[in-house]
Subunit: 408 residues, 2 copies
């Protein structure tokens, strides 16, 4: 492994900017205290980030008995970032200011059959164009980068969608294709990692060295943030917790194996549990996962006995599988994220915590918080925009070679 | 998280020394190529390590068309490190030269009832004294540090054995107690992490960013090396893979839960499988785990049908649990280590690989090697000595403030 001073500088820029996004303005002394860096290092980093147009000086604060301290803040209007969440049926784009506040949103539908690479690329470009246009018609925002998440296996270094099973894609050079249509740097990754980075920068994992973000949707995964950064694995496929074995020789899973976590806690699995417990339940809305899980969540919150039993049975399995993460990784926080977690909410969280307590070892369990994602907007778009911001921070030319000064 | 230039310098010292321990002598240019560091950085690091007495200049090598390049090597005789493996029934100490070759070994028995902290400390001090005396009676070696591993939960920062369940220990300040008896810096950690560091520095995980070392003994654990370094978790308890759930509501486990990996692949679990498949097998040697597992391994290698079935049934469970690590962590290598892995050897490895192939996802499985530990000696003592060496490399005073020059 190679450790360079450039890696460190990038990590330190992250640390300063992260703190300022959470709390602006701040003095250099506060930043030094919050990041553990020296005053001199903070001063250099602030100068670099100011030259990039990301920070501004915003005045002075009286200090007890000394000269007034100057304050810096994120220059929210200094640029914009776009996060694009590409899913099977839609392309969702959000434009953020530099304080990572949402400025504009756009969505493009992907109809069945519209899945050729050029069609999807056109939809992504249209969604990005729409949010840029919506942001400010008179003065277009200075877009510093676009982050795009794709389901399936992606090679972020090369910008290639290696495999998107549902569309039959193999090795589509998505970043290059988007580069022909968009005049911005494009960063490709997958939605699980985007949601994890969003929690790490802005959500429940802020300030944590070791955190797990569990994605509960149709599919199931666990984004791993270890040592303060994403753990990607040797081929960028880490996090396939949905296909770890919970019940050897148990329920068949769509991956071809049996007894996987996903076969008990993914949305289709929860519907199966509901059908098994109450075949004629009014909660079953044909094969509409979103509607059924939503109805189930509302019914469970209202005390409906069948819904409560389904949530409990789901939590019994989810809790055992979460306990595996507690025992193996000893994280500070485990975040339940994505639409199934949001729909089942507190009733699920309460039961999961009890189930984890039954299965986890005492010492790591006592050290782990289990929470619902506190991010109010789409964490995948936010995480995708964060990848674009990370791209800006790790660019080697920090003094205007890749970014022109912000002119008004 | 704090990233300092000191962390980087320590990591770079590791990188240079690790390469030289694997292959001495080498030129500065070779070291730069092997580590990815600049020639200037390598020159500085070599100077620091030479001043510490760890490296020596060993002559010149002709280079094609240029001036001869000077070569450096580990100064094997420049110092010594002691690794101590404390287990329930013994204290095993090894003294290593700086090339991490074994110079002397000693073992002290811990009889039942001899488990008070002062008794164990006395045995450790005696074992360390014995290897130091055995190394060279006329000129005592310059011992740079002692690494000690303790079963149970340890706090390495404070040097405290937080809990050793079998001895009833709570918060024993082991490093302080040893400091009263030994004139060397003492580093405390647990055996799982020592075995993992041994593979990372000298074994099957050398050069790997992401590796898992599976400890197969009476207990079962998985040491995680992620991003090129040990993953410890927030309270230093990561790696409790033996207590992740493989069969929900399955076999009872000694941790109080049911269906844990350890309940299927730990030594007592393998004996239970043997008893279930062949209650009157001649392989069963009362409750002697070591003898039974050893006989089982020899019988399986010889094609004995019962032994082959027991190994296959063990591998069926072990393989599913190893596949969980492949899917979740996407490592480059998974190493099967400790005495059960050594005793069951190739028959176990072959069956495990087949079982992992059935359960793991194709892409991460293709990227993972599964191997038996290649370390010929005790990896726990070796890893403990490595912790002591890491202590030397991360000492802030690198120019003789903590280490006196090597005088002869």
């Amino acid at each position: 492994m190679k450790h360079t001073s450039r890696d460190i500088r990038t990590a330190n820029r992250y640390a300063v900017l992260r703190h300022l996004i959470a709390k602006s303005p701040a003095s250099r002394g506060e930043l030094a205290a919050a990041t553990g860096l020296s005053q001199a290092t903070v001063a250099t980093l602030v100068a670099e980030l100011t030259a990039l147009g990301l920070l501004v000086e915003v005045g002075f604060e009286e200090s007890a008995g000394g000269r007034p301290r100057s304050l810096v803040a994120v220059d929210a209007a200094g640029g914009a970032l776009v996060g694009v969440d590409v899913a099977e049926t839609y392309v969702h784009a959000e434009l953020f200011d530099l304080a990572l506040g949402v400025v504009a949103r756009a969505e493009e539908e992907l109809r069945p059959g519209e899945s050729a690479p050029e069609e999807v690329v056109a939809r992504i470009a249209a969604a990005v164009g729409a949010v840029v246009a919506a942001a400010d018609a008179r003065r277009p925002p200075r877009v510093l980068g676009v982050g795009v998440t794709m389901p399936g296996q992606v090679d972020r270094e090369r910008g290639v969608a290696v495999r998107a099973a549902n569309w039959g894609w193999r090795d589509v050079p998505l970043t290059a294709l988007l580069g022909e249509r968009l005049p911005y740097p494009v960063h490709l990754d997958n939605p699980l990692r985007a949601a994890t980075v969003a929690e790490l920068w802005f959500g429940a994992a802020r300030g944590c060295d070791d955190a797990v973000v569990i994605n509960l949707g149709t599919g199931v995964g666990a984004g791993l943030a270890l040592g303060g950064a994403l753990h990607r694995g040797v081929t960028n496929s880490a996090g396939e917790w949905g296909h770890t074995t919970l019940v050897l020789d148990g329920r068949p899973c769509r991956c071809g194996d049996a007894g996987c976590v996903e076969a008990y806690v993914g949305a289709p699995a929860i519907m199966r549990t509901l059908r098994e417990l109450a075949p004629h339940s009014a909660l079953l809305t044909d094969d509409d996962q979103t509607a059924t899980i939503g109805a189930l969540g509302r019914a469970a919150a209202g005390g409906d006995p069948v819904a409560v039993r389904v949530v409990r049975e789901t939590a019994r399995h989810l809790g055992a599988a979460v306990a595996d993460l507690v025992n193996l990784l000893n994280p500070e926080v485990i975040v339940l994220s994505s639409w199934v977690a949001a729909a089942l909410g507190t009733p699920l969280l309460t039961e999961v915590r009890q189930a984890v307590a039954r299965h986890a070892l005492g010492s790591p369990f006592a050290a782990t918080e289990i929470v619902l994602s506190p991010i109010p907007t789409d964490p995948v778009s936010l995480g995708a925009a964060t990848f674009a911001l990370e791209g800006v921070l790790s660019s080697p030319g920090l003094t205007g070679t890749t970014l022109t000064p912000h002119t008004t």
